[in-house]
Symmetry: C2
């Protein structure tokens, strides 16, 4: 048996918490013998729900927390004031080393604040970044940063590129993944002030496979493995992707349901369409990690399914085993060493 | 007969120029008796092509221009140095008042530079903005700015909101259209520095119907008539929309073509799908105007069809007749007057 990895889970975060969260935990416990779960939340609610489930009781412990942080709470104030919230209590388990990873489907803002304040940044990391994997026609691309840390500086983007490369290489098992910077044209002189300043810095990095700019229209085609961007832009990319796909599907569904003939045709297409669109399904990659922290903090989608939440848990195992946090810390340290040597030479 | 409106057309700009451009002009001349076209380009190329067409020769005049500005040219240098390019010659016809509008499917960057340098801004306009109409589930939304003027300031966004409202009201014939600012959350305190500074300014404007923030995922659903944003973000919205839709369609097409059964089903669905997706077709709104200039400058899509180019020409007529430029100038002047009165009061 491999080493048991302990995951602290915010049972109360997300649109369908705690039901979906508990179901995801049950699935994860069944699928892997190597996971231990701290299920953090109101035991008066969670307790009776767990009683109905059958699972390995040696590998799940309920940790009581009386409060809940909601999307309406101000992230900074919530982390500071709701000391007994499921999110804060779970994050503290990680800080104290009792758990190796944290997952929540709750408020993104609060997770970002809590990750930085409670778990803490890796040494040398200027800003942690939220890095979801997006399905593309080629597989998956990592979009970094999609967090709440807007108005990044060029040196932040360089760190995102490094952290994203290490994460992608280790979790997607692809050597030397390509890195592109999100831009409004292909040429180096294109872009806003941030992109024009970051581009030459990225070009100089010998430890990443930088391929230049990527335009938004090429993202769904998977033209780069890692897409580096400031968080405001990253958020737009992610949400346009989601919104456009959903709007188009509802449009197409309308055409399918228009009349008897189209309904028959839709039935004939159903299994093939499902098969084709399955490649486009992001549920296999459950959650978005917040890279650059001392330990793993994962944000699951607010409306995630039990399967997605389970995948987020299982993802923690490979992240931990591949020592992604350690490798990121080492790469950041090496880059800083190189920079200071160059400064001395000058 | 109504007043004849003269349009200066860059015959050489665009992926399929001059063929598609000439075809678009022919269609426009047939569909409206009120348009006169200056067709600007290399007469050795255009001349023989026109000879094959039948049209009202009283309403088209070829203006020779020996050079062409391409997408590879640097916009500022091209406008400055290629004095005899089809774009520069056509823009000068507008500046001199010989034509009331200009259209090109050529380099966006060069059109933006040429529009400002040759045609010139309306008095009081800080920055002109490129404002395409995007198809949504509700109709059309105007996205302003999608141009090359990145890194806007808050006061620019306020002017975009005013100019966009006037354009939308007059061309889409909807009174008091809704205005939202592109953001990464619904709350007023969300966003980057630019958005947080612009939000309260927009809220104060009594001459627009400001409804707050819009998240990118709500854009395809048409939750606002006018979406105000900085150009880098606007470009991402537009290109993610295009890229995601195209990638999804190619995926779905793959499912349709998978086997005999799916091919039959696809045939059965074809006409209905076409009908449904037609609402989603932006070709009826041919080109994106550059708002805030003394006269109308329109950017047509580089890969536009003859029909799209024709629509861009016909669009010029309603723009001119509704006096959109004049109304924008008046609104900007009124807003400035109000501001200076407020300053005096303080």
């Amino acid at each position: 048996m491999s080493e048991i990895i302990k995951v602290a889970i915010d049972a109360m975060g997300g649109d369908d918490a705690p039901g979906v969260i508990i179901e995801g935990c049950m699935q994860a416990l069944h699928m892997s013998q190597d996971v231990f779960i701290y299920l953090v939340g109101d035991e008066k609610i969670i307790g009776p729900m767990l009683e109905r489930e059958s699972y390995d009781k040696e590998r799940l412990e309920v940790v009581n927390a009386s409060e809940v942080i909601t999307n309406n709470d101000h992230p900074v104030l919530a982390i500071k004031q709701k000391k007994d919230s499921s999110m804060v209590v779970a994050l503290k388990l990680v800080r104290e080393g009792k758990a190796q990873a944290f997952i929540s489907a709750g408020s993104t803002g609060a997770i970002l604040v809590g990750g930085q304040v409670i778990v803490g940044r890796d040494k040398g990391v200027l800003r942690p970044a939220l890095a979801p994997l997006m399905p593309t026609l080629q597989g998956f691309s990592l979009l970094i940063d999609c967090g709440a840390n807007v108005d990044a500086r060029p040196e932040h983007l360089v760190q995102y590129a490094r952290m994203g490369s290490i994460y992608y290489e280790n979790t997607m098992k692809k050597a030397s993944p390509t890195v592109a910077i999100l831009n409004i044209g292909a040429e180096e002189e294109k872009g806003n002030a941030l992109v024009r300043a970051a581009y030459p810095l990225l070009k100089e990095c010998s430890d990443i496979n930088f391929i230049g700019s990527i335009e938004a229209r090429d993202i769904p085609y998977g033209k780069a493995d890692i897409i580096v961007c400031e968080a405001f832009a990253g958020n737009i990319v992610l949400k346009m992707y989601e919104g456009t796909a959903n709007a188009l599907f509802s449009k197409i569904k309308g055409a399918f349901m228009a009349n008897f003939k189209t309904k028959i045709a839709a039935l004939m297409l159903k299994s093939q369409l499902k098969k084709t669109l399955k490649d486009y399904d992001s549920t296999d990659y459950g959650g978005a990690p917040m890279l650059g922290l001392k330990r793993l903090v994962v944000k699951a989608h607010g409306s995630c399914s039990a399967k997605e939440f389970r995948q987020a848990i299982l993802q923690c195992l490979s992240f931990y085993r591949a020592d992604v946090s350690g490798k990121i810390a080492a790469a950041i340290a090496a880059a800083r060493e190189k920079e200071s040597l160059q400064e001395e030479e000058q």
